[in-house]
Symmetry: C2
Subunit: 779 residues, 2 copies
């Protein structure tokens, strides 16, 4: 009861803050909206990271919303060589800041991923002669894309605006969890159109469609679905789309072969015929508009059925008040963002921080209808009885820091996410937890079975009420699927032989860590035999260490190490998206022993020093799309995940000051409040979660253990408002840009001696105090 009161008090304070602050000079003017600017959302700039490698989007979404509605710009390249844009990697989120044309607004987008999919249900308003081709018509004239200027763009959590200059149309959008809300301000026209492009896809733009289906239910309501065979091989998105104004006519163009035309020879089904189906469809709806007339459009999604989408539409946005929806969504964002209140040295840092926090609240997404119905991995429909179902588990990335962050900021959601992973296992024909899953599909991207890490981390931190024994069972099942990615060989040989996999070392290291996580679960539920078995497996990392050269190295089935081996090369050397120098330091489950077998603290310190300072030849960079000069420091790659723990490893070599300096340097150089403010893929929030943790002065080097490695906080002060009602106040005394060295750390008056902060210390709330200085603490 007492805790509840405190919680209410905190929420009250947060709302008070919000109401006090109506405007701030740092906020871009949102002239088109007459809503008060909230306190924390003002520090979010959704354009941060939208240039180059960040792969985030500037569009409108609610926290963890199924609808992530964002402009799609990825057709620029065509104009240069006259051909179709085949560059897909840069457009994982559909938007690149350098572009000057928009082809429409899509309702689903990944945030920060390094491979992609989605881009469902592209909407584009136009005027003038109807053009149904996005880029160029068959006759060679301009497609329906529009030019735009960044000066007309505005974005804040839950809101996006742009002027489509080619048509003199202002486009605004907001969203609830399951519904995108568009507002288009038209010029006077007797030839205005809203196009629903069902062909457009992100990544491999036009060849992923399996089937599309549209019904014009009445003069303002459209339903239907699209099925694609993209990264998710059997993905279905159902929709219900409602216009605020009845259209005067409509039609569609179909691009695929029609087998049965018995119907077509008698009727005209391309115009004003309310049923459309085919592999590839683009539909259009025609309007007369007055000068300045607003046409609104609500697009509800469902992964169950169009009936489900209609239900979602009616439940979430039963009105036409655009500002009301935006305000509600903005309030939801403020609630999430106000969970960590920070004071920083600069306003820029605050923007970077809150934008990072924003980016950690975009994935995974809610993946069920308002009534709890959702599509399972077997394509059957289920009802989530005691949880909210989520999807988009980019686990190779997010187990590292994002899910650990959720254990502090989003324990209830993380509990639901774990329950979602457990039902994924239960529905999986492989009896496996998710590897990289989205939209009721396993896409098998990357390696390891890191759902085990997420589960173990929650268990040791006492987060959630999921079934612990079942969680262990699902993990053990997963860890015994012999056909999965060398796992049978790993079980038999105690390492993955080089002949069996091009990523044999990376896989062996990560399996071993995941096995340690399973052992931690077993310990939690008191299953000693499983604990012993998996602790044993967690030692297998040693089998790919070659003490002769001091590197992890591919080993053949006969037990000998591979002869030709280049520890600098990221290709064909037994690692995936990394090399032996950086990826080879991945033994988070036993760092002391890793340091020991790698030659002890001094040698390991030298390895780390070299890693961060060595000059790297171009040939080692240019061959891999995930590694660019932007995201690297020496041979350390912050732009990708395998090394995210590395800056903290100095803590284990007796040189915590090197960790402190390095993490401050990384926060300073690899993040920032600009469109280039992410040095690599945000990867569903992992890159941002690294920043949040590091800003606060600690990092979960070993998820599955209840400890965080201490670093050097960037904030002057932070208040973490916990779901248990407690507040942890972090204070960096004597904080400055130069004072990156921590002299002492105390939690509630107790000095921390071992560079580890416990989760319980956080949960207890109170005071975490860092004493800062410009010189390292004397040993």
């Amino acid at each position: 009861m007492f805790r509840k009161l405190i919680l209410l008090l905190i929420i009250g304070l947060a709302f008070a803050c919000k109401n006090e602050t109506t405007k701030n000079e740092n906020v871009e003017e949102t002239t088109s909206l007459n809503v008060p600017t909230t306190y924390y959302t003002q520090y979010v700039n959704p354009f941060i990271g939208t240039s180059k490698m960040g792969h985030v989007f500037p569009g409108a979404t609610a926290p963890f919303g199924m609808v992530q509605l964002s402009p799609q710009t990825n057709f620029e390249v065509m104009f240069e060589d006259g051909k179709y844009n085949t560059e897909t990697y840069e457009y994982c989120a559909g938007y690149q800041y350098r572009d000057s044309t928009i082809i429409g607004f899509a309702h689903t987008n990944f945030s920060g991923t390094g491979h992609s999919d989605l881009g469902d249900l592209l909407i584009m308003p136009t005027t003038g002669d109807l053009v149904l081709d996005p880029l160029e018509t068959p006759e060679g004239s301009k497609g329906f894309y529009s030019t735009f200027l960044h000066s007309s763009e505005e974005a804040s959590p839950g809101y996006y605006k742009v002027d489509l200059d080619s048509y003199n149309i202002q486009a605004e959008m907001t969203a609830s969890e399951r519904v995108g809300f568009h507002q288009y301000t038209f010029p006077k026209s007797d030839n205005a159109h809203i196009i629903l492009d069902m062909v457009y896809n992100i990544y491999h733009h036009d060849n992923k469609n399996v089937w599309t289906f549209i019904r014009v239910e009445n003069d303002s309501l459209i339903t239907g679905y699209r099925q694609t065979k993209g990264w998710a091989r059997d993905k279905k998105v159902f929709f219900a789309m409602q216009f605020s104004k009845t259209f005067k006519s409509y039609g569609h163009k179909k691009y695929d072969e029609v087998i049965y035309d018995g119907f077509y020879r008698r009727f005209n089904q391309t115009e004003n015929f309310p049923e459309m189906a085919g592999k590839d469809l683009r539909a259009y709806f025609n309007f007369d508009t007055e000068e300045g007339e607003k046409i609104q459009l609500k697009m509800a999604l469902s992964n169950v059925s169009s009936a489900g989408a209609l239900k979602n539409l009616e439940a979430e946005i039963p009105h036409w008040d655009f500002n009301k929806t935006y305000e509600e969504t903005s309030d939801k964002w403020n609630k999430e963002l106000s969970k960590i209140e920070v004071e920083t040295l600069t306003e820029d840092d605050k923007t970077t921080f809150y934008t990072a926090l924003y980016h950690t609240n975009l994935s995974p997404i809610i993946y069920e209808d308002v009534d709890g119905q959702y599509r399972g991995l077997d394509q059957n429909i289920y009802v989530s009885e005691d949880f909210t179902n989520y999807t988009i588990f980019s686990l190779w990335d997010t187990y590292r820091a994002l899910h650990p962050l959720f254990n502090i900021t989003q324990p209830q959601r993380n509990n639901d996410m774990i329950k979602s992973m457990l039902v994924h296992h239960d529905q999986s024909v492989h009896n496996m937890l998710p590897i990289w899953s989205h939209y009721a599909n396993e896409n098998w991207c990357m390696i390891g079975y890191h759902a085990t890490s997420v589960i173990a981390d929650a268990m040791v931190k006492n987060v959630g009420d999921f079934d612990k024994k079942h969680a262990l069972e699902t993990s053990v099942n997963t860890a015994n699927v012999r056909y999965f990615d060398g796992l049978g060989d790993y079980i038999d040989n105690h390492y993955v032989p080089d002949e069996k996999s091009g990523s044999s070392v990376s896989i062996t290291l990560e399996f071993a860590y995941d096995d340690w996580c399973i052992a931690q679960m077993a310990k939690q539920v008191g299953n000693t035999s499983i604990e012993t078995e998996f602790l044993n497996r967690s030692e297998y990392y040693k089998n790919v260490y070659d003490p002769k050269i001091g590197f992890m190295r591919p080993k053949l089935s006969d037990g000998t190490f591979r002869k030709n081996f280049d520890p600098m090369d990221t290709h064909g050397q037994g690692f995936i998206e990394g090399n032996a120098w950086n990826y080879g330091l991945y033994v988070p489950q036993n760092i002391d022993e890793m340091v020991d077998i790698m030659g002890g603290k001094e040698r390991f310190t030298q390895h780390l020093d070299s890693l961060f300072t060595m000059e790297i030849e171009d040939k080692y960079i240019e061959q891999h799309e995930d590694i660019t000069r932007d995201g690297i420091i020496g041979n350390y790659v912050h732009g990708n995940e395998p090394g995210h723990h590395i800056p903290y490893l100095y803590n284990w070599t007796g040189h915590p000051e090197k960790t402190q300096a390095r993490v401050r340097m990384i926060m300073d150089t690899m993040y920032g409040p600009t469109v280039e403010g992410l040095c690599g893929n945000d990867d569903a929030g992992q890159m941002s979660a690294w920043y949040i943790f590091s800003s606060l002065g600690f990092y979960p080097v070993t998820p599955g253990s209840p400890y965080y490695a201490l670093g050097s906080p960037l904030v002057k002060e932070a208040k973490i408002h916990l779901e248990n009602g407690n507040t942890l106040t972090i204070t960096a005394k004597n904080q400055s840009k130069d004072n990156v060295f921590v002299q002492s750390v105390s939690v509630n008056g107790k000095l921390i001696e071992d560079h580890l902060l416990s989760h319980q210390d956080i949960m207890n709330g109170g005071e975490l105090i860092f004493e800062m200085n410009s010189t390292p603490k004397k040993q």
Copy 2:
């Protein structure tokens, strides 16, 4: 209560009959089954009509079953020219009797249609080296098809057997409503296979797939689905397939492009990997078999989900007793067949009769899971609360005699079928009743909106408890969809102008009849204004009659008749699948007036005489696939539907004796107990329903009226056991092959003077007595 007792008594008698008769010399030996041969099923020969144009199948099915499991032979042509068989029309039901090879057994088949689809989930057992191509391997060697001999085939209602000589495998199959039950007797082999071919389709064999999905749930259970874009543009068939024996290994071959191969480069997913997805898949399951070992396989279907299929499997066949399922299905058939007990002049006639009755119990099919869930026309899932949902409505064919027959033999099912049509309307984005619908899709085949006829016929005959007012509303909605097939022009011009449709006359005639049916409904529910409106519309047939030439004739928008016009030609003359000579006699709603405007009784009699006797030039036949010499008499086409009422029209010209002779002649020449026993497409039972009615001595010339036109019975005696508990006994006194002329007809002692039998007279039960003679009754 009294009626109930009578009903029980009848059922008891039927079962008694069945049990008394265990064997009959006319029955083919079913040596492989130790089950008693039932009385009525013995007279059914499913091979009747499987040659040439009948388009029926010999496979196993329960009455109106969703699973209609039948051998597919349609690859013969390839061997002649070395190319793929492009002949599709002959293979609407997958089987042509002349063929000598089988490529497998498919679970869905239309019965008798003139266009096709389905052929889902082809199963083929083989031995020896695995071959996954049905016809020919890429290297040019033999595909997985097998030769067979008709001497090894057996078929009876609910059972089919054949020896697959290429593999020395005996194949047997039976079925419940939703589950196909296979039993394969193998030779000794360490290399036996059961192939699940998800590529095979009937009609346009290999290009209809949209998506296929397979999960190997465990070592004997497979689930999945297939989506096709065939005649039904968005058809989904889900399945659950269980083997009686665990397979030793499995795999698949995929024929389509894979976009994302990130997975494939690391795993082998083609063998022993339990998840398969793609446009085109063929899966195989490997077994070791002993000599004579039986491997059984149960394949359950669902149109909802694979979970639904599994539920159907468990509910309908929870065991492995093949004979038990066959016996249950055989009992169901006997129950249906025993509703009409006939005594005939010859055993051949009895076989023809019961096989025709069998063919009238194959379509429409039950289209819902055991729990009432079904897929609606909008692709959403519904639950049938107070009815059983049916699909396959070949209404242009079946409104004529099949649904009227159901009003006698299957009133409860016809009520359910009408309710299925009403929900079709409610789910239709067009607000239309079905035209030609199957598998939650409208395929728009043929013309008119004849669901109105089915509904009106049931209403005037007091069949069913469907909502009459809603039925009228759905009919009026349907009759006002202006974009449908010239309907707007019909409403505006009072006929369909020739410029607007190539079938303008046929459409005008049928719309006018359907409008009369709507007027009958309106009369039933007391809506005078609708009755008047649609009675008025029902007169529009007159607007396409050209009194100058005495034929129905295409009329232009300006009100003049088309100049170039050939009343013999079936192409481009305003008719569809017919010509002015035969199709032009279609005014069932007012035959007296038609006769009158066409020159009166004598001239009309001459027209009919000419129609049946004229010599027809080859050029008028060969151009149309639906008309062959087999099905025509002069210029009368019995092999197609538009003329089915014509032999009965003499009743309206004062020459009932000509009707009597003609219908006996048609029964004698157009039907028979052989594989060529259907002179044209059975069309979902319409052709057979014509035979049943005509055999009994009457025919529903005007569905929507409560009267039947009298003909000349073929039977010596028939007992119709009605659902109301009454029995109508039809007796043809002095019956013989030559005594085709009816001297008098009386019902319960009352002489019928006007050649019309009322439905009430049938429902009352009692005695319907025909006095037969070899010469016409004296006028």
